[in-house]
């Protein structure tokens, strides 16, 4: 069914613009949730337990916003796409290493991942200022959470 069965409160142009922003954010966040789980299982080293637990909190954060972003798209009449293939092809998150990883390497990779995501989100906050304040509000909240997580992961590198 390619014609949307859900009407949109936005004009066609705004709907297209906001839809693209939400779809890109959805893919980024699904990828973040998969990467954080991957790290959760493969981390090893002296601070194992602490990192293992903290990574699961990041998974929870990512999954929470995955759902809110997708349902916001649906509410605007835009079909969200979060399938594995879509994520593998269009995610903006940096490549994450395979296999077992030392705690320090995990910290470094997660800090880089979050930095990339935050930069992309801040651009989207600007983009939605003229098109949909409701979507902007959601993106601001995600940015806030990821910046807080970014601090907590960076704090371990000091």
């Amino acid at each position: 069914m390619s014609k949307s069965p859900i009407t949109s409160p936005l004009s066609d142009a705004d709907k297209a613009a906001v839809g693209a922003v939400l779809q890109a954010t959805l893919v980024d966040l699904i990828d973040l949730s998969l990467i954080a789980k991957q790290a959760h299982w493969n981390v090893v080293g002296q601070n194992f337990r602490s990192a293992h637990l903290q990574l699961d909190e990041l998974v929870t954060t990512a999954r929470t916003y995955v759902d809110q972003v997708a349902e916001r798209a649906a509410a605007l009449g835009v079909s969200p796409n979060g399938k594995a293939k879509t994520v593998a092809e269009s995610s903006g998150v940096p490549e994450f290493p395979d296999n077992w990883l030392k705690v320090d390497d995990v910290v470094q990779a997660i800090v880089a991942t979050l930095a990339a995501l935050i930069q992309r989100l801040r651009a989207r906050v600007d983009e939605t200022d003229k098109t949909d304040l409701v979507t902007q509000d959601l993106l601001i909240e995600i940015t806030k959470q990821l910046e807080e997580a970014h601090w907590m992961w960076q704090a371990q590198q000091a």
Copy 2:
């Protein structure tokens, strides 16, 4: 780090065999969790709410076993791989349609997905009978849950 920092209670041969089984199951279950979420967001039609809720229960089931399967692999000294690319390339789950979907089409797709997964799981239960009873026990439990879900989704087609 390609050499495993975790020792295995199994022989090398058994570890390789069981590791392959767990990795394949991990990929299948991650894919199931992504597909069920995809359906959760894109389903439309008269029974929308009921299907929308039931799909989220399937997501929860899939995620629970994703974690147990990956951690069982780690406990055996096998690094689990659950990244988006790996899932996109090696999942045994049938292709799921893009875009908005009618309830009946969702039911049909989920029934087919579960049937494929159960068949693959039953083969793996046999494979692990001689290699690792602990892993077999976990696979039996997953099979049981998916067969119960299969019944409940099928019951709607009657």
Copy 3:
């Protein structure tokens, strides 16, 4: 007591403008809560139970924001008015049919009701941009929730 015993952080003009917006929203939301309960009791037909439950969730959403909107008005020194007569006379929600109703008719009426409310809310979000950002933030949140509900009710018509 017609002179307000509560001082306002806003100028007199802003207070009057924001007060009118909040009073209008209050009446709309009380009416929504009464209509959703009315439908909750009078719905009949094959999907009865699902609609019956979903309508009660809508009641809960409406009541939550009824309270927040009224208390926001009070916090600004504006006396809120949510009495039956006021609602009957000034609500902007479309007329809802009497008597028992088929599920499809309920869905159609609720979709229309929400569409009308969202349109009115989006206008108020714009109005408050220059007068009170705190109130605007609350209206954005209500809009988001009603647009999500709108999607879920529309999805059943597909």
Copy 4:
């Protein structure tokens, strides 16, 4: 749909009599819930917080029985009507003042409101003694709760 899709365990005459009693009670209780909320928002003065909280408990009581009364009507095959216009036109609850109100005035108004409601309910308990003991039981319970509330509000006037 004006012909009731729900059969009644009562004779036609009893159903009509009990239905009228329930409809009148429903309207009274919805009005009570709206008035108690109105007072909850508009009360001011030295005992503000205590009255503010106690009024919300009254709202909760009223809403609980609103639902039970309406669903009892439905169970007897009588379509309940709780829309704003119906309440504004047929409620037996005394007029409640607009605008901010001193605590003492609120106490006085609530005591009077409850006294009126109790009197009407006791008459209905008698009316249902020959027609439907199940409905009578529900009305007795509501009477008990409102008489207890009446004592607690009166106690503040001593």
Copy 5:
């Protein structure tokens, strides 16, 4: 032990009359709980999940009153009998079909079952008016719950 070790607050005649009423109600309600479970497992068709869940709520209601009725009998010095054979031989509930059942057939069977039970209960409410008001009160409560359930199942046939 055929002589009752529990004394009764009732006269012998009243005890015999009330005891018969409670024993008959006990059997009816156990049968209802078994039938609702039977339907819970065997229902199939488009509204499967909703019916499946609603049937389990009916099981819970039935089981709650099974216990209260039996313990009321015991409190009056009457030994309750809820064994399978007793239920099979003396239940007043209509025969329920074997095998898989479509949702519509289930709804029809449950509506008929509840109608039969309510009719029998209303007669017993009358019978106990002169013998034991405590038992009557319990029967009124059960009647209320079953009539509410009856409405909800009937509502799906509209």
Copy 6:
């Protein structure tokens, strides 16, 4: 303050009659709660623990209805009196022995206490049939609970 600050929904004659019934019930139930605690502390013998716990459940039951009975009196404009001296002078509960007590003696004393209380309550249920159905309803509920407790204590004597 001897003139009641609480108005009564009953006529003066009914208020006096119902007030006397409630005051007598209040005293009986407070005495029951003190006796059950006394037994809770002084019971000894082979079944100590089971009796010790069961007695505390009886305390909880008694205290629950002490409060409801007293507040019902207050709601009718009758000042309840539950002071130690009042209880010592006017309770209708049989004398309870001092000092340590064997389990069997406790069971016997509690069975006798409950039998006496139930007999008095049943008379009061009859008395209130013409004066206040709300109070009657409460007395029926108390009777039911005490008759159930009576069975459970008697069952230990068999």
Copy 7:
């Protein structure tokens, strides 16, 4: 509907064999739940309370597995039958005495009942070893729980 709307992951022969095992277990467990309730209500004597409570735990255990066994059957495409008549005719549980029962007699009857059930279950664990490991796993778990209960009831006879 006699043809199963649910496909089975098993061959026809295995499905028939496993289906028979599950149906027999279902009937046994429903009967156990009814017998344990019967005893819960009719037990009398010095240890009444302890036995009364322990019997209700047995009811809970039985009901838990009743549901799992029936749903396992459904998941395999076998319609479960748990109606009163079926239980009365095909249960393998020994006859349970009518009327009030002394604690010792209850203990003896429950010990015998559990012994019979365990023997039947152990045979079924063997039967399912070649047909369905998932079902076997469930039967092993039930056996474990009933053997633990058996110990606890036997321990009281020492």
Copy 8:
């Protein structure tokens, strides 16, 4: 049974002294619990609700220590006596007025009651310093709680 079935860890002299202290404290606290409930039901006036709630907290405090004091006596081989007659005859708590009471009068009476109790408790803390440190510890804790309650009731008189 007048000879204690419970041995005491104390010498006979210490046991007698500590037993007397505990018995006196038990009676005082039961009386406090009855008086606080009496006030809870009979208080009227402008601050009714606040006093009504605060009195129930005092009941809870009193009941908690009633149990601990009685069980401490039992643990020392001293049979505690908390019957209505004992309380009426030996309590050291000042007489509490009958009938409805204004809030101020209640506050005054409770402040006086607590002052008397605290004075008696402080003397008992001294008495137990040489006889039983465990009992002393319990009395210190009760003193602390009552002195805190004393402050909170006094604070309302300022």
Copy 9:
């Protein structure tokens, strides 16, 4: 360590501006939490209990935002400073009186404190409009909560 170990998503100028706003807000809110506790302990007079409880809710509100503001600063690479000396020297909250305080004086002081805080917060909402929307969102939320509290404290002065 004076060089920040946490990188900032903001430019240096924006970081300095937003950092100053957050630090000032942090100090104000810690001071509010200390003042509310001070009042919680020192309030006396007729409405003591109500004020005592309401002040603790204000402490909870203040502490919640203290933490969020400080962690937002850290997330931006700005070290927050909430030590006693810093609060004593830089808080913008008006001087709060020492010693015991009558309820009316507490209400007056809290109303003044909140008015001062709200005025300062509204200015900061404006300041952050061009520098960091994420921080602005947090400040809007705090303003909303404090304005609601302000209404509730003012309402008692009417």
Copy 10:
């Protein structure tokens, strides 16, 4: 590491004395927890269930204080030793019989065990009066709990 990495707030002499007291108490309590579990599993006879449950409460009590005692030692710079060999060699608890045990024999053994433990604890309360009031306070609390348990076990022998 034999030199303590934890400094002590006590002098060396006091630390040695208090450390010995805590170590001895630790061993006694671990032994109590193992013995109570041993009895929990091996008890048989008519009161089985009651004793079985009561023994588990004793396990919980013992384990709670095991942890508090060991952590108190650590806080004083004394390394606690709770290994099986240490317990087997230095516990002051009387020998507990092997194999299945009748309820009466269990009661007798537990009463004797608790009597021995209480005697030892009371001596330690005296010893710590001059060395560490904090430790004394903990020992007083343990004594109180064990004396209460002692009463409850003795009460069954009466």
Copy 11:
């Protein structure tokens, strides 16, 4: 209001002495709560997360006793003073460094802070032995908690 509206159970001399002890303890504990929060926000380095969480537990401990100490003072008729200026001027806690801090430096500072607090508290335990046993009991409990925390922080330096 400088004259205390709360009477004291202590003599004037004892009240002054105990009041000074409580006021000093109050200030120390408020300062501890602010310092622990300061560290919670500013800590960085390899064990960041673990320290971040452990610091928040210390905040909770400190806040719990802040309230109990202040309310004990009030109960004795002494007005507690916990304002920022008072804390800044009279706290006995060592100066805590500004700005970001490495984990090791935080551990060292917290260990020193707790050592200083424990030393001061132990002196106060001695001081209150002759003046108020109730206050002494509270100080002993605080000492116990801080010594346990001290061990846990020191354990990280080994």
Copy 12:
């Protein structure tokens, strides 16, 4: 009582074999719980808190299976023996060092302890394949949990 009062569902030979397996497992697991607590109290060093918490989770795991293993033995008619002396003499767990221990040494000791236990458990899983599938199932579950714990402790050595 050396003759078992509990009958066994197994033959004498199987009962002896399975009994020996369960007794050995019981002793191993009790020892594990004591060792993990010992480490919980004596661990020191940089990662103290994380190790301290993780050790307590291991205690919980061990205690859970201690109970299940002992109760399985009892259910088979085998008296379990978990006394300190038995554990000290027959445990297969390696010697654990006395006194304070650095985190790394704790990790190493726990990894070795778990490795030894897992090896012994896997042998027992094989032994029970022909004797008791129910026991085997329990041992498989324990093995799974300990292998997962083994991974998590090993991961810290990488």
